[in-house]
């Protein structure tokens, strides 16, 4: 690292067993001024207990409105190497799978044109290239696209869709999360690159209710795998679990939320009519139990962090649907109905979850053309303030009907 740089506070973060980001950045500090001055500014933040980055800044590549986050140091005279320190979001491959050949090409581009620092990966899923100058953005974009890569989303647009490992390495996957992520990303490039929504719209795809991408909490549209028929049971494999001495009663039967599992001897019986597909027994007994054959997914809308009206989990809007023969058209149709209604009636900086809360689920369902279902609520309303739309008139004739 550069000899003249003293970072006594950051040096403390080189101790201990967890891998140190400071040691790593220091390994770059002799190579470029970005990293040297990043360490200098961060050391100052640690001394003063505050950040020294300016608020945003509109930068990007030609023809795109998203994918680059402008960032400038508030102390450019002191730390000129980070006077510009923009972020480039690169759309990750489905499931975050890489080959070394492919990622090395990106690392070479990034070392030539930026700080050489990354986030693998950002919160939404993108590969984040952390820290470059405005004049480097267009060359980076050209170099990336020449190798087959493109930018992700930012601002009020479709954010880069992401998914769990899915059928690529998980026996629980109820639909092809990688294929759907790829299809939606490719189908909505315009919505991804050119912000024109009320606010951000994140899509995350998890293959089962274990929800490894946190779709229920972190995505405006969570597409979560589920099945409708019976759990598939391999009794011979179950008997092996019993023979292994596993505490089946304590670890499985007693923890079933609906009490629908019974065990007699070495045989497991599940009353699937009461099963809520929570996944616990499948997680404990992966060799004996697996999701049924009638597999698909549920669509949950509206999850978000607290800003502005409070944190929300996604609400079930479509309790079950499936993709047949790789035809994603029904999914496109659903997404476009949702976007159209939100676009027309939502307000600026209003996430879809806040929009649904404001206009009511009933109005939203009507707006996108879906019928209500008890699978969409914890319980029916417990107040009597009902907006009746049908009523009788004096003459006895039925009046208002839509």
């Amino acid at each position: 690292m550069a000899d003249d740089l003293k970072t006594p506070l950051l040096d403390e973060l080189e101790k201990g067993p967890w891998p140190s980001f400071i040691t790593d950045i220091k390994s770059m500090a002799g190579k470029n001024d970005y990293c040297k001055d990043l360490l200098g500014q961060l050391e100052k933040s640690y001394e003063d207990k505050r950040g020294y980055w300016k608020h945003g800044g509109l930068v990007g590549v030609m023809g795109y409105g998203g994918g680059v986050i402008g960032r400038y140091s508030a102390l450019p005279d002191e730390f000129p190497g980070v006077s510009h320190f923009h972020t480039v979001r690169v759309n990750q491959p489905s499931g975050w799978f890489y080959t070394t050949d492919a990622l090395r090409e990106i690392m070479d581009i990034w070392e030539e044109h930026g700080s050489g620092l990354t986030n693998m990966h950002g919160s939404t899923g993108d590969m984040v290239l952390l820290g470059t100058r405005t004049e480097e953005l267009e060359p980076i974009f050209r170099a990336l696209t020449a190798k087959g890569w493109d930018l992700g989303g930012s601002g009020s647009d479709l954010r880069t869709p992401s998914c769990c490992v899915g059928p690529a390495r998980c026996e629980m996957a109820c639909y092809d999360t990688l294929a759907m992520t790829y299809d939606l990303t490719k189908s909505y490039q315009d919505e991804l690159h050119r912000p024109m929504f009320n606010y951000k719209y994140k899509i995350k795809m998890s293959g089962c209710p274990n929800d490894c991408t946190a779709a229920i909490a972190r995505s405006d549209m969570g597409i979560i795998g589920i099945w409708r028929d019976d759990i598939k049971v391999d009794q011979a494999a179950f008997a092996e679990y019993v023979d292994s001495g596993m505490d089946i009663q304590g670890a499985v039967v007693d923890l079933c939320p609906t009490g629908c599992i019974t065990v007699e001897g070495k045989e497991i019986n599940i009353d699937d009519s009461d099963c809520v597909k929570c996944m616990h027994c499948l997680n404990r007994l992966p060799k004996a139990l697996s999701p049924g054959d009638d597999k698909g997914f549920a669509v949950c809308l509206g999850a978000k962090a607290p800003i502005v009206e409070g944190a929300l989990f996604g609400s079930v809007i479509i309790p079950f649907m499936k993709i047949e023969d790789g035809d994603f058209e029904p999914m496109h149709d659903l997404i476009e109905r949702i976007w159209e209604f939100w676009d027309e009636h939502g307000t600026s900086r209003e996430r879809i979850g806040e929009f649904i809360e404001r206009i009511s689920l009933a109005t939203f369902l009507e707006g996108i053309g879906e019928d209500p279902s008890p699978k969409m609520v914890k319980a029916p309303r417990d107040n009597p303030y009902i907006f009746y739309e049908e009523y009788y008139e004096e003459e006895g004739a039925s009046a208002s009907e839509e």
Binding site: D24, K49, T100, C212
Partner: protein, 358 residues
Amino acid sequence: MATEAKRVTDIGPPQYEQFLHPIIKDNYGKWLYHDSIKPGVLSHTGPAGTIFTVRCASPRLVSVNFLRDIMDLADKYSDGYFRFTSRNNIEFLLAKEENIDPLIVDLNAMGTLVGGTNNAISNVVHTQGWVHCHSAATDASGLVKAVMDELAEYFTSEKLPAKLRVAVACCLNMCGAVHASDIAILGLHRTPPRIDNNALPNQCEIPTTVASCPNNAIRPTSIEGKTTVKVDEDKCMYCGNCFTVCPAMPLADPLNDGVSIWVGGKISNARTEPMFTKLAIPYLPNNPPRWPEVTDAVKKIVELYAANARPFERVGEWINRIGWEKFFDMSGIEFTKYHLDDFRHAGTTYRRSLHNRY
């Protein structure tokens, strides 16, 4: 003279199949089951054979140097195939079981740890902090490093009652989505924005700024003939939404910014429904570089949970079983007026039954 390549746009990400290991490609959608070999090592088996996964920690903020070291190991042990998880771990995908132990030796030699599977603390989802964000109330990478140095043994073992998910977000925007983690570390501001009345009229749109406040605390005003805004400080809850739309209203306050601790959230549907995290400790000071008050508090909660929860009980499930009064009693964490919700739907958190433990 070199001709510049034609400019292309909107090509999207590369097709993922080219990045899949041949065993994964052959077993795609046909996996039969998985096994846990030891902490950080899994095997997945399908009709076309078994793939072994070795999972290691990553600081997430990593350089090309770190990644090239990782890729050298992937070339050496996993045919050049690897992936990242949704919690920013790195996974090597091995065809040969005999490569597991040498890979682990090399990973440990390069300064990282293998683990994060099953009943472990996995990698910490976190945000940018002072490294890259304008609205951070604390650092994120440093907090994660300090906390995980203390908790590393829970990453490399599977001795907890259930999996434990820790997340760090450096302000209420929560890019790290800490609102559904077993333990969440959340940076927060505690004082209203300081308005730069000279800059505001040029930098900010007044109606947008006024509308940004969830508590209607912002009003237009005029100072020396210039239109700007004022903040009703009694109504301000320091959410920072105004700063997002108006750069002339910064909240950073080194004297008062700090960290809060939240517990009991979960994402998965296993056994119980997904749950939000709930407030445990309203404020701890920013004390870089190692945040001793924060690491101490988190470690105590983890150890209390490890000693008292039943097998497979997540932190929130454990607390729901024993009751919040007992959680505060056992942990010694003071219950204050700040623990009482006063935002939208606050009443839904009030105890509206006689189901109390005495």
